[in-house]
Amino acid sequence: MKKLLALIMALAMVLSLAACGDGSTPSEGEGDGGGSADISGTYDVVIWAPEAAVDLTKSQVEDFNKSNEYGITINATVEPVSEADAATNMITDVQAGGDLYFFAQDQLSRLIQAGALSKLGTSAAQFAKDNNNAASILAAQSGSDLYAYPLTADNGYFMYYDKSVVPDSDVDSLEAIIADCENAGKNISYELENAWYTAGFFFGVGCHSDWVTDDDGNFISIDDDFNSDKGLIAAKGIQKVVTSKSYVNSSTADFASGSAVVVTGTWNYATIKDQLGDNFGVTDLPSFEVDGQSYHIGSYSGCKLLGVKPQTDATKGAAIARLAQYLTGKDCQLARFNSFGWGPSNKDALADPAVTADPTLAALNEQGNYAVPQPNIHGSWWDIAKVITTDIKDSDGSEAALKAALEKYEQSIEAVFTMSDDVKNAFTVIGSINGDGWTLDLPMTADGDIWTSNEAYTMDAGVEFKCRQGKSWDVAYPADNYVVETAGTYYIQLNAATGEVTLIPA
């Protein structure tokens, strides 16, 4: 009897869950696709901004509501979410995430992959490109599309130092700085066990690490030469720092806790200024010397971006796009610079005298000569590259050990692209379809040996393509490119057993 009672209770629970659960199963359409371009109305928008920027963002949204010409009223909820955690939080549940969110650019690919970023419309993309500097646009780009609006261009690092320990005459030489700190019993805070900082040494000697993504945010390949003779020089540079007794793996404002040098960015300016007072010094990174030759340590330069979550309602999406453009415009960027020193990416804002006079931005600017714009990087690279430092630190210090560390790095990178069997065996279509220049692999689905393209493509006569396996040219049909004879809309079909390619009119 009471078993029944228990069951009924369980049942009530199940039902309430299921009732809520199935609400979203049949997806409803997004309303009118055509219609007028009137986007006036009131929209509830959740904005995720770093704690420091919450109040400013609220007032900026108010200003937008007053001043915009589209009749949009944004009813904004601004939540404090650090730009470093945005991806982790968005990925938890994209649906429940912020509509607009600040994030650091290294999360771009993860966010695209998770389906948490909406592509920018043509005019929005044009707006972003017209107003922001090239590096920040690169940061927001995957393939040929823009996925976010640049907010800042100050995500780089340089060197703060204590003038009472490191005299100005020494700041250009890594060896001199290390000697000064060791003699004074002070630390050097340099977070080299973090790939963002590790890579700087490699860029300094002229190495590169370039990732190639397609339009969907998928990584296709990497062009990287860290494991080379040049890379070995960089490894020796890293070795100098990490084997010093002064080395501390940190990038916080450590001047009050034993450091005389801290490699970090603009965000720590106020604290460090306060800690050092008259002894405050800031400059670009130093040079290190290997075999009589001097190399200036490089760095990444990066951005903070403003992302828009994919919207189901086009009208709301358009309204949010307007808000995003306002928030990343010149006035808002300058306001953020004035409030908490975020260096703008907006071209006009960059020319503002207050910005050009800022000491940290000046140091960042100087370091900019040796900085590499941070591209869109595969998420696992961060864990792989930081191990170079750990390996160097733990090694016996011999050249062979350094080489081994780089060798391992290369293997790990290659393994990122070791494809799953599914991908290796799958055929894709590649060619001049849709005006593409043989860069995009279009997916196909198998039914036994018969592979059919997932979509029908409208092709003019003369369009050429091939079907290839595992995105490589080892197995590709037909032997010569297939040339479309009659224009039309076709599915592409391949018989993998015979290698025969046919067009099926849609």
Partner: protein
């Protein structure tokens, strides 16, 4: 095999250990145990810098950090945690007592299998079930801004698994008491409310106390449920963010102040009810 030589030395030293030496040792231990807390309290009163420094005693004393706390979302987090703790204390206690009393007093067909089953369930790491519980709560609308009822629901719903300690306690209450009452015509319900519960006061208080203390330290799941919504945070989630790289230099002393405010009531409550806690632990915990 360490040979007897060592043992004899041990004996002699042990014998010779005077109370004085024990006092010294206890004093040292006490200092080690108290140091971090004293430091936290000291730093919470530091006015001159908000970041980590290489000294402990503030150069300038003041309540600035507590004022900062008051002006932040901390109030809300504190209230959230307090509500969760209170609700958990009441509801978990009811659930745990139902469960442990039943398993201690009744002998029914499925009792053995049920206890074995729960033992096995307990061996699965709970970490992963987080993502499922999140989804269930999300569908019930109990996440983010509504995280408080969600966290209460989850903490209460699976609390039946933690019946061991109080079952151990119930086992020590003689069964003859029940039987005497049953002979007098009391129902099982009456036996529970009239006879057992009054005797079980220590374990009831122990259960309430531990249930109340739990939510103050709940971080991982609470963060998951309340993600990205400050108004749904508990103290642990909110304060943890103050120690991240981009905030620690501004919020370090505020964190210490928050730590004091969080620890104070819990510690006072705990010290007042210490007697019951000790009784609960020694009476029930070891028996499992």
């Amino acid at each position: 095999m360490s040979k007897s030589n060592k043992h004899h030395m041990g004996i002699r030293t042990l014998n010779r250990v005077s109370n004085g030496a024990i006092y010294t040792l206890l004093a040292i231990i006490s200092i080690i145990w108290l140091i971090p807390f004293v430091f936290i309290v000291l730093q919470s009163f530091r006015v001159e810098n908000t970041y980590q420094v290489g000294y402990v005693i503030p150069q300038q004393w003041g309540f600035q950090n507590y004022i900062n706390l008051w002006n932040s979302d901390f109030k809300r987090w504190y209230l959230n945690t307090f509500i969760i703790a209170l609700a958990a204390a009441v509801l978990q206690t009811v659930i745990v007592l139902c469960m442990s009393y039943t398993l201690s007093r009744f002998r029914f067909k499925l009792r053995g299998p049920l206890m074995r089953f729960m033992l096995i369930l307990g061996m699965f790491p709970g970490m992963l079930t987080m993502i499922i519980l999140y989804r269930v709560l999300a569908d019930l609308g109990l996440t983010q801004a509504n995280a408080v009822p969600g966290l209460i629901l989850v903490s209460v719903a699976s609390s039946g698994m933690g019946y061991y300690v109080s079952k151990g306690f119930f086992d020590t209450i003689p069964k003859s008491l029940d039987e005497a009452a049953r002979v007098d015509g009391a129902t099982r319900l009456q036996v529970l409310t009239k006879i057992i519960l009054p005797l079980a006061k220590p374990i009831v208080i122990y259960t309430i106390l531990t249930a109340f203390m739990g939510p103050w330290g709940d971080y991982v799941f609470a963060r998951y449920v309340a993600f990205g919504t400050s108004s749904g945070y508990n103290v642990a989630v909110g304060m943890y963010s103050w120690l991240t790289n981009d905030q620690i230099d501004r919020m370090y002393t505020t964190f210490c102040a928050g730590g004091v405010i969080v620890a104070l009531p819990v510690t006072i409550l705990f010290l007042c009810l210490q007697k019951y806690y000790v009784e609960g632990v020694t009476g029930g915990a070891v028996k499992g």
